[in-house]
């Protein structure tokens, strides 16, 4: 079968860098196979497409991975870009931080923070998925890219498209945080603010993908794009010394990250790079937008969409495309999910900062607060080694946390005024 929407074609990104070949695609639902293309749904049943990796492909050993550059591409055999990537070569391999103080707060054996708040180049895990999507765009000869975004993806696509010399059309909800708007506009894309929620933006972009033939990274390039999230799982396993943690907690928006983390852990198990049980997967959402948490607790396989009402805009997706898949991964691995209030997620931001020295955005606050809730409920066990996936940087959402912080005193440049503060 061939792909349907024809995308515009362009020359490879630079001479001497041939456009990479791409993995073919297969339907997760009915198994139908498709040639590589800018298409994310199956023509036969409309199910989601995923890359079809050749089972006969040669996979590297730990020793062969070790000397490779510290980027997502050290795991390229598990990514849908065949051969060498040509753009966004230096994204990935963020720190995995041990946090004894946070472990004590949660009452668990050990906590590690996977810190994508310092992801390169735009301080969120979306750098990973965009890096893969832009190489897919290069492989398909697509000359204009775009996305529907709650902010972090907008930042990542704007920056990486600018570097690759690609025009980008980026659509966001009108009420996005200032830092995310500025952190997109500065790279010079065509940024469009849409009246409505992210789900309205998403619907619009689904129609635009058909109309203009752009490569919209999280729509018609989604089959490639989503695979980039697996690299967070690969890095966690390698940074732990080629082993798996007991539990992983991730924020949930569209549900793709958690689903792909689980897939990544299983792929490393299948490859024999790690042994043991796959981690239990735990998801966190804000109470004002928690359709996946609802599905986990309610059972069944159909998301009930909601209209988001939360300050955690980066995870405010009321109609999550991969929500059912995320809920299934949580149930299959024996994990759980928690929804937290906006006050609690702000407290989570502060707890992570004060215990670990990491300033995360609202999604990270939900992750920390969700982990705290799940640990107190006994869903995460006291004996667990837990990895918290911190997916974005707090400097992007300072308005969320600023009201909760103590105002700094102002003094004259006199010792006695500071002494008064010390003695107070």
């Amino acid at each position: 079968m061939s792909s349907s929407p024809a995308a515009a074609r362009r020359a490879p990104p630079s001479e001497g860098s041939p456009a990479p070949a791409l993995a073919s695609l297969a339907c997760r639902s009915c198994g139908a196979r498709f040639d590589p293309g800018p298409v994310a749904v199956c023509e036969a049943c409309l199910g989601p497409l995923e890359p079809a990796y050749g089972p006969e492909r040669a996979l590297p050993s730990r020793d062969e991975i070790a000397p490779r550059p510290h980027s997502i591409w050290r795991y390229r055999e598990w990514l849908p870009i065949l051969g060498q990537p040509v753009v966004s070569l230096d994204t990935g391999f963020t720190p995995l931080l041990d946090s004894p103080a946070l472990a004590q707060a949660l009452g668990v054996r050990r906590v590690l923070v996977k810190n994508d708040a310092v992801s390169h180049p735009t301080a969120s895990f979306k750098d990973r998925v965009v890096a893969v999507a832009l190489n897919a765009a290069a492989g398909l000869g697509i000359d204009t890219v775009g996305c529907a975004s709650t902010g972090n993806l907008a930042n990542a696509l704007a920056a990486q498209a600018a570097r690759a010399g690609l025009p980008a059309w980026i659509f966001v909800p009108e009420d996005l945080e200032v830092a995310k708007v500025v952190g997109t506009s500065v790279y010079g894309p065509r940024l469009v603010r849409v009246r409505g929620t992210y789900d309205d933006v998403n619907r619009l972009c689904a129609q635009l993908a058909d109309r203009f033939g752009w490569g919209l990274v999280n729509l018609n390039l989604r089959a490639y794009y989503g695979e980039g999230s697996k690299t967070m799982a690969f890095e966690i396993a390698e940074q732990l010394g080629w082993r798996l943690p007991d539990a992983v907690v991730a924020p949930m928006a569209g549900g793709s990250l958690l689903t792909k983390l689980d897939k990544g852990f299983h792929e490393f198990l299948d490859a024999g790079l790690v042994q043991g049980r796959p981690p239990r997967m735990y998801g966190a959402q804000a109470e004002g937008c928690s359709p996946i948490v609802d599905l986990v607790h309610r059972g069944g396989d159909a998301i009930r969409p909601v209209v988001p009402r939360t300050i955690a805009r980066s995870i405010a997706i009321g109609n999550p495309a991969d929500g059912a898949s995320a809920a299934a991964a949580i149930r299959r691995t024996g994990g759980s999910a928690a929804a937290v209030s906006d006050d609690d997620l702000v407290a989570g931001i502060r707890l992570l900062a004060e215990t670990t020295g990491v300033f995360t955005e609202t999604a990270g606050g939900a992750t920390v607060a969700g982990a705290l809730s799940l640990a107190r409920a006994g869903r995460i066990r006291a004996s667990d080694e837990v990895v918290l996936c911190i997916t974005g940087n707090g400097l992007k959402t300072i308005e969320a946390v600023q009201p909760a912080l103590r105002e700094a005193p102002v003094v004259s440049a006199k010792v006695r005024e500071v002494a008064a503060l010390v003695d107070a």
Binding site: S4, P5, S29, V39, A40, V41, E43, C45, L46, G47, P48, A148, Y198, D199, D200, N202, R203, C205, A206, Q207, D210, N218, L219, R222, A253, G254, G255, S256, A302, R304, P305, V307, I317, N319, P320, A321, D322
Partner: protein
């Protein structure tokens, strides 16, 4: 006045090669049934085995997700627009 039904490109092949169709009906389900009567293959990708909305598509009536209203039982007005979007998108 008929209702306009807009399909994603991926469904055009099952609908005579067209993504825009005029149809009639008092509810979203009626409109879908009208188009499905002309294109039976399309019908299987808009409705599940029990006549419910097919799980891999989302129906918007005048920009509103019909799941926030009455699903296929949602009444439609003359001149309304129903947009069908694949469910696997975004995030």
């Amino acid at each position: 006045m008929p209702v306009t039904l807009r399909l994603p490109t991926v469904l055009a092949g099952a609908a005579g090669g067209n993504t825009v169709h005029q149809a009639r009906g008092a509810t979203v389900g009626d409109v879908v049934a009208d188009v499905a009567s002309r294109y039976p293959e399309l019908g299987t990708r808009l409705r599940g085995p029990n006549g419910e909305p097919y799980p891999y598509v989302i129906f918007y009536l005048d920009d509103e997700d019909i799941r926030f209203r009455q699903g296929f039982a949602t009444p439609v007005r003359d001149g309304a627009e129903i947009v069908v979007v694949p469910a696997i998108a975004g995030g």
